[in-house]
């Protein structure tokens, strides 16, 4: 009950602030205005996330196509190499598969909007909420997809390199890598969609930017497979988190310019 009252007051103070920003900017009002903006943004983001989820649930083929892409790629590799037991090659092949799965999955992130619906979204929501919601949704998607890829990959190509591995660290690195790809490629996917050139342009724009991340994540997962603990792989994961934070901040800053036409 109290929180509803606070929010109500915050909304009121925001409304009054809009009209009286120059006449009566008191510290209390500003404080509640910030509070209001924050709550509105997070509810907006939650709504957008829900929208994404409902869209994906309605078009079931989206998830199916991602899963099918991973499984068929793994199967093609299986036909080529049967079982791999050398850790470096096993590791490299896994990351290549996951990288292309990420490009494939995130490429459609901004493609499915036609311009009419985009205009509608534009009038409803703040662009920063849109990009944050898409980023969060893509990150969750990629976390799931990376685990799915790992399962399919271990099933077909063989799980020999996993036997001596630090499994906890390895799975953490795999998920961190997948989430990192999602964060970097969300803005790139929006750019490619705006340039009207689809997934081909996205690969060209995204590859050099993802490459640094790919190098460090490959190294970290190789170390985890070799049985190295967190004390060795930790610095790579922290570096990955640093890139993630910078990427999200940049996307947050730049997306409004991309969104308006």
């Amino acid at each position: 009950m109290r929180s509803i009252l606070v929010e109500k007051f915050a909304r009121q103070s925001l409304r009054s602030l809009r009209f009286n920003l120059f006449s009566a900017p008191s510290a209390v009002k500003l404080f509640f205005a910030f509070f209001a903006v924050r709550t509105m943004r997070s509810t907006e983001i939650a709504h957008l996330l829900k929208l994404e989820w409902q869209l994906d649930r309605r078009q079931k083929h989206a998830w199916g196509s991602m899963a099918l892409y991973v499984v068929s790629t793994v199967y093609v590799c299986y036909q080529g190499v049967r079982h791999l037991s050398e850790t470096p090659i096993w590791n490299a092949l896994f990351w290549i598969i996951l990288l292309f799965a990420a490009f494939n999955a995130l490429g459609r992130s901004f493609q499915r909007e036609n311009s009419g619906r985009q205009l509608y979204l534009y009038t409803l929501a703040s662009p920063r909420s849109v990009v944050l919601a898409r980023t969060i949704y893509n990150a969750i998607t990629m976390a799931v997809l990376s685990l799915l890829s790992l399962a399919a990959y271990a099933l077909f190509i063989g799980s020999a390199p996993l036997e001596g591995a630090q499994m906890g660290t390895f799975i953490l690195v795999v998920m961190a890598g997948g989430v990192g790809f999602a964060l970097v490629l969300t803005l790139i996917s929006a750019l490619a969609a705006r340039a009207g050139n689809g997934i081909g342009l996205m690969a060209i724009l995204g590859f050099p930017i993802v490459l640094p991340m790919l190098l460090s994540v490959m190294k970290a997962s190789k170390l985890a497979l070799d049985g190295m603990g967190w004390d060795v792989t930790g610095k790579y994961v922290i570096w990955l988190l640093l890139i993630d934070v910078i990427t999200v901040v940049l996307a947050w800053l730049l997306f409004p310019y991309l969104w308006r036409d």
Binding site: L191, G196, F207, L211, P212, L215, L250, L254, D261
Partner: protein, 338 residues
């Protein structure tokens, strides 16, 4: 001719760098001894120097083992770069590796570290003092380093290329910010010109680096974090040009290209700054290799390196302004013909 002086300055600096940087000799050094190990008793061998003046001033030579000195019993210069020398080695040198040192008036103190394996080791020898006054060399020369040798001059060309590229990319980044703030197509043209010229400098940096790598590390390309950084940089800006090419509308192109430029520039900078510190690199200053400044960038190199950096950066900015003028004129003539 307002503002022309810096163009003249760049020409003067680069002429100075090319002439002095290529004509200054390397300092003298000992490069080779004709035997691998020394055993107690009479030992004679030949010492080879580089840019030394043994014939002009007969050098003093002595062995050094764990701080103990052993002077030569006879020294016979063969040429300016070779000297024949005899030692009477006693039993009991302490360390497994013995160095050889030399000194003469013109070349100053010279050393070849760990030149010999020591045989007949013991707990030390009784030193006989040899009368040597070690005054330093006074002639102007570049440091003579093993492996680097004469290629050390590439420092004045290879490194400033990357500095210039960075400066031009920063100009481009700044103009891209202006595009987003004001939507100005002129700023977009500046961003594009800066990227074009910076890619030229990146190509020059890759070529000079590749030649240097071949001469010192033995390979045209190695998997080194700095090289990966260079490759990523070139790929990013090539992608930038492709992105521009795929959008026909001018204002939209300016905006999208600016967004990509800002995004890529920041990530690239983080990558180039951080990644070499995470993994081993063959470059100085990374992965346990000391930076140039701590052991190689002595005063003679500094006297060339800093002018070279300033000169190349000014030349790069000059090239950028010319490129920009050409693209402005092209845009004008396109407008006129439409």
């Amino acid at each position: 001719m307002k503002g022309w002086w810096w163009k003249g300055l760049s020409v003067v600096l680069l002429l100075y760098v090319v002439i002095v940087g290529l004509r200054t000799p390397l300092g003298p050094a000992l490069v080779h001894v004709s035997v691998e190990r020394i055993a107690p008793g009479e030992v004679s061998f030949e010492v080879t120097g580089y840019n030394t003046h043994f014939q002009e001033h007969a050098p003093h030579l002595w062995l050094e083992n764990d701080g103990q000195k052993l002077c030569a019993t006879s020294v016979t210069p063969i040429s300016d770069a070779a000297v024949s020398v005899t030692f009477t080695v006693p039993q009991g040198l302490r360390e497994s590796m013995t160095s050889i040192r030399a000194w003469d008036v013109k070349d100053g103190p010279l050393v070849l570290h760990e030149a010999f394996f020591t045989e007949g080791r013991g707990t030390g020898i009784t030193e006989t003092p040899c009368a040597i006054q070690e005054t330093a060399r006074t002639s102007f020369a570049f440091p003579n380093r093993a492996i680097l040798n004469e290629t050390i001059r590439n420092l004045f060309f290879h490194v400033p290329m990357w500095f210039t590229m960075m400066v031009l990319m920063t100009i481009s980044f700044w103009q891209s910010l202006r595009v987003l703030r004001t939507g100005d197509l002129g700023a977009d043209r500046m961003a594009l010109s800066a990227v074009d010229v910076s890619l030229l400098f990146a190509a020059l940096g890759l070529i000079t680096g590749s030649i240097w790598a071949r001469a010192t590390w033995g390979n045209w390309w190695t998997s080194d974090p700095k090289l990966n950084g260079a490759a990523v940089t070139v790929l990013i800006y090539a992608a930038y040009l492709i992105l521009r090419g795929s959008i026909p509308d001018g204002h939209k192109r300016a905006r999208l290209a600016a967004i990509y430029n800002i995004f890529a520039y920041v990530l690239m900078f983080v990558f180039i700054m951080v990644l070499p510190r995470l993994t081993d690199s063959l470059h100085p200053g990374n992965g346990g290799n000391p930076a140039f400044s701590s052991y190689d960038l002595d005063s003679s190199l500094r006297a060339l390196f800093y002018p070279a950096v300033i000169g190349w950066i000014l030349l790069g900015v000059w090239a950028y302004t010319l490129h920009l003028r050409v693209s402005r004129l092209k845009a004008l003539s396109d407008d006129a013909s439409d």
